[in-house]
């Protein structure tokens, strides 16, 4: 039986089929943004062609399809989501637009306020109120609800979000509202805060909920259409959608919790990184995924990617647990410019893919990172992406000349400057992200992803005093492979707030049992394999505002009162993260979580390559590394495991170009990857 991974990006749809021996077959096709399921079906047909099978037979012999989609992300970023109405507790309709009083870009006071996803006239108060302890202060007033729904009906909303104060304590008013909505506004996509995100803190809850209602209709339509087309074409197995938290979920759940799919796209790369960590037997990796406009990074610590609850997508807060991926504003299309004071900056402005760098000859004239790399000789104008596109060196030179004139330096200095500044920005970005998470980047290896990364990654590593860089042979395969190896994940969380010293231990145990039963039931609806359950809590000290997540893996739940063990784990976790614990301060429990993980059978490993003997260069290129020098060029597709390549050198394939700097040494792994040792100062 086959397993198929499908990653739909902005430009291309990548597909990988893995057969029972672990052999991978690739297909690439243009994405079809209006209805991405068309591109998916095209790609599957191509995959079947390559395997010399009819599509229906390939699908009949496929046991699992895992799919990463940007439908939800794009709806949010391109502001093409549903027309949403929001019902709130009367007197509290502006929580969404108050944004907790925060504004970014501290010194920029000449900027208009952002538009909320639901404008004020569609945010309506309903007479009802719960107290913090769950008691009803004001019963749900039917007349007021009826009026509000009538107003939303007149406004012709497609989706309704319902978020009442303290609804995480008791969903009764929200559920009664949903019942009336079902009668009065049948067909609307309805999201309840007590269902989507039953946690305390009204801004995070309402923002997450509104995102859910905004992207939900489009995502739901798309996923059901895709599932329908696959069924028509003969597929009988599950379609699993990769979620922002890095696990996968079946179509129905992904459509219900649509906000959980907002980072589905980059999650594929993270899954690939986790898989790489396993393959390499090294737990600590920083995936470095350099694209046209940005570079995505995250931290894989001991083989696991960390999660965060403070993510924003397109400026909108999504408080669901998501992979902690950070985007730096630097990529191959980033533009070099000189400010009024004569300082060279690179990015965040980008020429993107269209018009693209000057050397693409698609109308771009601004000097980009790619243009600089071409002028420096790192890229081969005739063999860029395996010769699929030719680069215009003269156009790149002209663009760099304009920059050089502004700076008062030579063309080659300007090109070197763009290269150095973008490397500095990326290295410093990685450093800040690591420090913020309490991690020393020098103890990690950089994992190079994306076509542009290979020319920068060895210098970024040097700047970080980080001695190891890994370049997989085909990153797209790695992502798809990682997606296929990802387990199912259902998380259920509920606010259970109180000073841990005063909560009832037995009640806490019961709550976890309920959450666990709920998570397992959701998983069992679509999965009958082996499962494991993870319990955790979000806690903080009394005076703090932010909670930290504390895993409860080895708590003895047979104890009459598990709370002392939970509190002790919190102190220890706080110490790990922040260097200190405050054992004499009250520890406050805020949320309880249970995650049911459906464990999928391990994939067969990607087959290793044969030793093809000594690696010989396929050519020579003149490149600039402080001065012009001739360096050997190697074919990445013809490297041989166990052998080594010494820098300076270029290693090139149709997918990527890697620059080995002087004193770098690349060992070839059994799978034909580059494992590069970079000379750095010793870690103290």
């Amino acid at each position: 039986m086959y397993r198929i991974g499908i990653d739909v990006g902005g430009t291309f749809t990548d597909l990988v089929a893995v057969d029972p021996t672990g052999r991978a077959t690739l297909a690439k096709t243009a994405s079809t943004p209006r209805d991405p399921s068309e591109g998916v079906l095209d790609g599957l047909a191509r995959l079947a062609d390559t395997l010399r099978l009819p599509l229906s037979q390939l699908l009949a012999e496929t046991e699992r399809i895992v799919h990463g989609t940007t439908v939800a992300t794009n709806a949010l970023l391109e502001q093409k989501g549903a027309k949403v109405g929001l019902l709130t507790t009367e007197g509290h309709r502006d929580v969404l637009e108050m944004r907790e009083g925060l504004k970014d870009d501290r010194y920029n006071l000449r900027v208009p306020p952002p538009e909320p996803l639901v404008p004020r006239q569609r945010r309506l108060g309903v007479r009802e109120r719960l107290r913090a302890d769950g008691r009803v202060e004001t019963p749900l007033d039917e007349a007021s609800l009826r009026n509000a729904i009538a107003a939303l009906k007149r406004a012709e909303v497609e989706a309704v979000a319902v978020c009442y104060l303290h609804a995480y304590r008791d969903p009764r008013h929200e559920r009664a509202t949903a019942e009336m909505l079902a009668r009065e506004l049948p067909g609307a996509y309805v999201s309840l805060s007590s269902d989507v995100f039953p946690q305390i803190k009204e801004f995070e809850r309402v923002s997450t909920l509104v995102v859910n209602a905004y992207v939900g209709p489009a995502l739901s339509r798309y996923l059901h259409r895709l599932a329908g087309r696959l069924a028509e074409a003969g597929y009988r197995g599950p379609v699993l959608i990769i979620q922002s938290h890095g696990g996968v979920a079946p179509v129905a759940e992904a459509a219900r919790l649509a906000a959980g799919g907002c980072l589905s796209g980059p999650a594929g790369g993270v899954a690939g990184s986790r898989y790489a960590a396993k393959l390499l037997g090294t737990g600590n990796l920083i995936p470095f995924d350099m694209g046209g406009t940005s570079t995505d990074i995250c931290l894989i610590v001991e083989g696991e990617a960390s999660l965060a609850v403070d993510r924003k997508v397109g400026g909108h807060r999504v408080a669901l647990n998501s992979l902690d991926i950070v985007s730096l504003g630097a990529g191959g299309g980033s533009i070099g410019r000189v400010d009024a004071g004569g300082i060279l900056h690179v990015g965040p402005e980008s020429a993107g893919a269209d018009p693209g760098p000057a050397c693409y000859r698609k109308g771009g004239t601004a000097p980009t990172v790619t243009d600089a790399n071409l002028v420096l000789g790192y890229l081969d104008a005739r063999h860029f992406l395996g010769g699929r596109s030719l680069l215009d060196t003269a156009a790149a030179e002209a663009a760099l000349d304009r920059l050089a004139a502004t700076l008062g330096v030579t063309r080659i200095s300007a090109a070197e400057g763009v290269h150095r500044v973008v490397n500095t920005n990326m290295a410093e970005g990685i450093r800040v992200v690591s420090v913020r998470r309490g991690v020393d980047p020098r103890r990690f290896a950089l994992l190079s992803f994306g076509g542009a990364a290979g020319l920068h990654v060895t210098d970024v590593a040097r700047q970080l005093d980080l001695g190891r860089v890994i370049v997989p042979r085909v990153a797209a395969v790695l992502s798809a492979w990682g997606m296929l190896a990802t387990d199912l994940r259902f998380e259920v969380a509920r606010t259970h707030i109180g000073d841990a010293g005063r909560l009832d231990g037995a009640a806490t145990k019961r709550l976890f049992e309920e959450l666990e039963a709920d998570a397992v039931a959701r998983l069992r609806a679509s999965f009958d394999g082996p499962l494991r359950v993870l319990r955790s809590v979000d806690m903080r000290y009394g005076e703090q505002i932010f909670e930290i997540n504390v895993a409860l893996d080895d708590v003895d739940w047979s104890a009459a009162d598990p709370l002392p063990q939970i509190v002790e784990r919190f102190h220890r976790r706080h110490e790990e993260l922040y260097t200190y614990a405050m054992r004499d301060q009250e520890a406050v429990l805020v949320n309880a979580r249970a995650v049911a993980v459906g464990v999928l059978p391990d994939l067969p490993q990607e087959p290793t390559l044969e030793d093809r003997g000594r690696i010989a260069p396929v050519g020579e290129r003149r490149i600039y590394l402080g001065d012009w020098q001739s360096v050997p060029v190697y074919d990445f597709d013809r490297v041989s495991p166990g052998h080594a390549i010494a820098g300076p050198a270029i290693v090139e394939s149709a997918m990527t170009t890697v620059l080995l700097r002087p004193h770098d040494k690349a060992r070839i792994t059994p799978h034909g990857w580059l494992d590069i040792a970079v000379p750095v100062r010793a870690v103290d």
Binding site: R93, E97, G101, R106, P112, H166, V421, Y578
Partner: protein, 559 residues
Amino acid sequence: MARNSFVDPITVSVIQHRLLAIVEEMGEAMLRTSYSQILNSSRDFSTGICDLDGRLIAQAEHVPIHVGALPWAARSVRDFFKGDIHPGDVFLLNDPYNGGNHLPDLTAFVPVFDGAKPVYWSINRAHQSDIGGATHGAYNAGATEIWQEGIRITPLRLYEKGALRRDVMEMIATNVRHPRDFRGDLAAMIGSARVGERRLLALAGEFGWETTYAAIEAVLDSAERQTRAVIAQWKDGVYKGQGILDDDGHGYKDIAIRATVTKRGSELTIDLSDSHEQVIGFVNSSYPNMRSAVAVALAYLIDPHTPKNDGTFRPVEVIAKEGTVVWARPGAPVTLCTNHCAQEIIEAIITALAPACPDRAMAGWGRRFRIAIQGKDPRTNRVFIWHMFQARPGGGASSAGDGWPGIGEWQAAGGIKFGSLEVTEVRFPLFFRRHEFRPDSGGEGRFRGGPGCELEFAVEIAEPALGNTAGDGVRHGACGILGGSDGLPHRYTLHSEGRPPREIKTKEVGIPIRSGDVFMVESGGGGGWGDPKLRSAEAHARDVELGFVSAPSARKAGG
């Protein structure tokens, strides 16, 4: 300096990006290790690098009102310890009459050495949750002299050649109310300054000291050129502006801060000497805080991403007179000055320059008006202190569009987060009936000021509680500019059964609060920008549809 020419512009660019990254990393280290909520959540701290003579080299973008003040502090420490600064030393300072801005802002300095010669200061300034004095949390509206505001730390050596001076540490910690938090926060501050030291040494190790010095000169010159390029575009002339404080809480009313700004070529002279004489209450400014307010005004008018360093502020000359409210004589209380009169200094300068650079000037952002309530929670019988951060006032309009709703004050500009009402109800005996934008509160203009907020809450106590306030702006709203009108001022009232509603003043100590009392808080709106007659019909219709304006022309001119 001539030696600039030895460094190529690429190296200068790389070092500039590196310097900004260093101060940012110092901030991250602080966030991760500080104890108090005001530091790890509200981020009321800043990190920076000065050279030995106190010239600002780089500063992270944390709290605007800290931006221009570090040089005065660094110079004060240098002058006191000149010739006696050693590797491993750590210095402290908070006294506003010795280079500090106000007592809660404690500053830690780590010297950075080129061989045996101290050359830079790595600096962390952080607002302490308590600094001793007569009232909890430092804001004492009753203070008439600085000794009632907290412990004064003149330039002081806390570590000597790497060794902690335990006796000194003990003495300071004994004089604040939460010694454990204080020690934790101070350790975080010093740790953060040491990160800066380590990274600066690595920078010099990579490029060499001579290149580093020369590149830093070029970085400062570059910021100066950027600032001058902007100022040069403005119309030459002599301009006047003012900002008026309601009162000082001790009898002074309508306290005017007046700026005469002369703009010629790429230079500005800002003369504040015509400002009101110094007053009794804590709205007086220290000299460094006044300089900081001037720097903030400039930072808001130039390009927002120009780095803030010594070069940025070179085109500005400041003239002020000791004994005025913007530069109080030693001994006067000053704790509120980072809010007020800092904001009125900003207001005086920006309103003065508005005709010279109308597209850059923004209307006034709301003033601060804080309430703290101390009482006993009947559910737990424990004492609580609650600080109100909700009901933010509106932001000012600008040529870019309408002001932000409920975003806060001019000096913080959207940098202070308010807590969840749900969490507040769990933790405090308070019940929030309403928290929404306040219609008709934004000043009118071609672009409208952002609305303030309405907050209505009941205090559910069994025994009487006490309230303190600190702030300004119940009579003077955020200023409109270029024909725009002022935002509505704040109005806070206390409703107690059987008594007439009581208007709350901005500087009160010990307001009695009875069980079931209800606070009605209406915060001010931002100022409007430009002639209201030029506001488009569509924009006006949208205001009404959104409910930011109650009905067409419901509000008369001038509120």
